[in-house]
Every structure is written in structure tokens, then in C-alpha cells.
Amino acid sequence: MSNTKILIVDDELIMRESLAGWLERDGHYVQTAASGEAALEMLKNTRFDIFLVDIKMEGISGLQVLRKIRESDPDAEVVMITAYGSIPSAIEAMKDGAYDYMLKPFDPNELGVLIEKIIQHQEQARENIYLKEQYKERTRFESMIGQSKPMQKIFDLICDVAPMDSTVLITGETGTGKGLAAKAIHTNSARRDGPFVTVNCGAIPEHLMESELFGHQKGAFTDAKETKKGRLELGHGGTLFLDEIGEISMRMQIDLLRVLEDRVFYRVGGTQPIEADFRVIAATNRNLEAAIKAGSFREDLFYRLNVISFTMPSLKQRKEDIPLLAEHFLYRFSQETNKPINKISREAMDEMMLYDWPGNIRELENAIERAVVVGKQREILPEDLPIFCHESPPIKSARSLKEVEKAHIEQVLAENQWNMARSAKILGIDRSTLYSKIKRYHIEKVA
């Protein structure tokens, strides 16, 4: 049974009925209207996919009905029904957006083919919209993975901030995904079709920074054999992402401040002012307010950059995203290395959930990459993880994390008379994790 809704608009009862009966047998949902007026009235309450409209009708003509349909529902298709003498009107209807016209009486095969063609065309159009939406959804927060509340907040914030053209300052620990957030803002902004140019302020030596940012004229200095556009110029029409902005020298801070104020600069060795239209997103893991106090960062530049700011949560603050992220990285690295590792063992996942990840997502990514490389089984085991290796052997002189954990579990179990459910709840882990820890640490119930 098709889901296609068809409305037949014809003032001749016999035409309406014969056509409706025929199309119903094809499994379509068919309704009829005896006039243009009746059809427009029905349109107010029901949506139809296909309209078969007689051109010549008393009152509102078929052409007027066609125009009204095109106005109210551009996705619906209209086929005009015409008698031999009305072909010029049918051609006019085609100009007004009718899908096709049919001469009465139709060959039953032609009718079937036409209806099928329209249904396929509409299905394809819907599929295209769906694919586009899916693509947009995927690329909206490209590679930003997270279902945790802190990440959902970040996604909402990105959605709010992206359409504005204001400068954004993203703070957060190393490896929290500040660059991905910047890219997501760009992708969701009106500048999405423009370039996204990254300047890693911490990675470019100071003496190259000026040329890198502003470009240079041929002959401006010994190695300037060609005129080269700088990153600011390359970012025209798009977004300039200044990563690790806290690492920029005081001298460059002055130059950058001037550019951000005037949007005009000169290439090194150049005399012609260059205007560039770009949005600035800056990111840092440093506390810039502390840097201002320490005299290593200009307060005026900070305020110029800090129009809108937000902090990326650390992985410790969004531990519930670890399984999702780990699976994502596992898939990526197993594909890249062509190794048949497709699972993370329960024990390995428990280890990852208990670890604090000071290096954040980047550290998790590296850990999974290493595990995939060294792993011998089809699943990642705790011993494949660098975090697990780092924990042992226990340090004799002080209590290791493991010892502390073991003692704590023993204490909670004793306090709760070995009630597993309650103990697991207090420890913030699930029961199966608690069982595996009891086994691993050889914890025994003391009578």
C-alpha cells in the first residue's frame, strides 16, 4: 500500500470516480473535489502529494488552483488534466510549475507510469533532504563526540554563538577539543563556505610569526623569493583560529590587536594596506587573567578576544562519554591499522572509567591507538592500555592508587555488610565492576 495521497479535482463526477477507482486499485489514498473552491478548502486541512487538476472548471479554474497549490506546498506535484482543445492552457500551466499534463482520455499505461515517476521523484527529493540533513548533522559538530550534559551544553552554546560574528575565546585544558569546537562554530556559521585557517601560535617561532600572519612581499627579506599571502589574508571570508593564543609574544600581541581593531594590515615589506574580513576564534589552555597580572599578556587584547568565551570540560568532568569516545577511536585506529580489534573488554573499560585522564581526550586517543597497535587479541585488554601499565608495579615507599582503591573498596564493603548493590552505588560504579575489582584485588569477606 502506497502512502501517496492524491487529490483529483474535476467538476465531472464520472471522471472523478473513474480515476479515483483506478488509482485506489493501485493502492493510493485518493480523495476528490468537485470544484477549485472545494479543493482549496480541503487543502487547509489535508496535505496531498499529487494533485490531478482539470484545467477547465466552473468558478476557480484549474490554473488558479495550480498557483494556489504551488504557493502553499512547493513539494506537492500537480498534473493538469486537459481536453484536446485546451493544450495552450496546459502549456501555460507547465510554465506555472505543473509537473505534466495529460490529455483526456489517458492511456492507462501512461497514467501509471506518470504517477510512479512522480512518486519516485518525490521520494528522491525527500531522500536528498534527509541525506543533506544527515550530512549537516554529522558535520555540524565534526568529530565532537559526547552525550554527557557538559557536552550537550557545549553543543547548545556553539549553536547559539555560531550565527553571531563576534570573536570567541575558548579556554580549557590541553586535549579537551578546543580546536574541534572552533571548527564547529565555523561550520555552523554564515562563513561555513569560507576558509577555516588555523594559526598555532605556540608552534610558530617568533621570528616567522609576523610573515606567517601577515604574509610578505617578494624581497622583503633574504628568503622572501616570492610574495606570499599570510594567514590573515587566507582567512578572508572565513574564520581565523588562533590556537594557543597565550603563547604569542608581546610584540605580536600589539600587531594582532591593531589588526583586530582595524581589520587592515600590511604584508611584511609591503606598502599597500590589505583589508581582510574574517572572524576570530582564539583558544588557550592558559589562565589569561593570571597572565595579565603577571604582565605576559596584554589586557586590551584579552578584552578584544574575550567577547564571548566558554570553557571546554575536561574528560574527568564528562566520564560518561569515555565509552563512546573509546569506541570511536577504536573503530578509527582498527580501520587505519587494519587490525581485527573490534571490542574493548569490560575490564579495560573499567580501568578507563577509573582513570582521571589528565591529558584529556588526546590522552585517551593515544591510549587507544597504542592499545590497538600492541593488542594481540580481538579485544582491548587492560594490559594493552598504557594507563594500566603505568599503575604497576606498586611503589613501595608510598601507597599506590591500587592499594588506596583496594582499601577503600574493602572499607565500603565492610561498612555495608557486603551488600553489593549498596556498595557499588556508594563507590559510583556498577555491580559487575565491583565484582571484577573484588576478584582482581583478591578481596575476601572477613567472617
Binding site: M1, I14, S18, G21, E24, P105, D107, P108, L111, G112
Partner: protein, 186 residues
Amino acid sequence: MSSHDAHSIIVSPVGEFAPDLLDLIRNEIKRIYGYPTDVMTLLDDLEFAFHAGRNQYHSTPILEQLALRAPAGAVKILAIVEVDLFIPILTHVYGEAQLGGKACIVSTIRLNEGHSSLNTQEPFLGRIVKEAIHELGHTFKLRHCREHTCLMHYCRDERDVDRKSDQLCRYCRILLDDEIKRLQKS
């Protein structure tokens, strides 16, 4: 008019047809729908449905007349005619049926490619039987099926009819069984 069994499907020829054809249709009705059949003349001529301008017969009023003349207890009526049929919006039809109703009709003229209705050669015989069973399917609420081999598949031309099988697909079979059960309960 001859007597008939209650709860049978009436096969009603209008004109003269080869006995082999009628037998084959009756056997197929029994095989697919499970009902016994009776052959009965319900309409002597079709002049009331003739359209001089088109030189064709309008199938819809024929169905209405057949339904009105249905004997008590007749489950469905299948009329077989050798004239060219039409419905007003279409140039021609092989047949027509009242969807979920009492009557259906099939014309042999196009399926027979203009041969006499007494012709019982293949592939004409098989085509007519398939389309008769197909039209009858509509009266049991079956709609056109997307499965190319199913008897309820809509055929654009004679070759399509030749290509489809003489069986209902699994899906149409289930729908038909449901409808027969419903009819038997009511």
C-alpha cells in the same frame, strides 16, 4: 438463468466463449479463492453501456448492473466479455472491478490480440485466466501488488501478463485469506 449453489462465485459470460476457457477459469477460481463456481448469464447484451463516440463499452455501469442482478448468496460475480472496455478517463481497460465489492469484469479482446473469443490457444488463454483472477482479487479487497510475479501485479501490456505467474505472492495470499475469513464470518 440457471440455478446456483449458495456461497459460490458466479462466472457470467456475455457472448459465446470456448468451454475450455470457462472451465479453466472456474478451476483457477476454485484453486485460488477456494469457492465453488457457477456459470450463469446475468446480462444478455451490453448496449446500455455502449458509447458510440468511442465505439467502446463503459465498464462501470456493467459492474453496477451485474451487482444488482447478483443472485442471493453469490459471493462474487465475474463477467467475461469480448468487447473493448473503457472507463471515461482512460482510453481502454482490460477489466474493472468494484474494490471490495461484488462484481468484476474482464474483456478478452485486447488480451486475445483481436482473435475470436473461441480461441483457446496459448498464450491468450493463460492471459485471460490470469486477468480474470486478477480482477476477482480486487473484489476481495486486494490492490495492485509491486511483486512482478504476483497475480495482483498491474500489467501495462500483454507481455507483462505473460511474465507474471499464476500465483498470488505470500503477502497477497495472507490478505486474501483474511478477507475470505471475514466474509465467511459475516
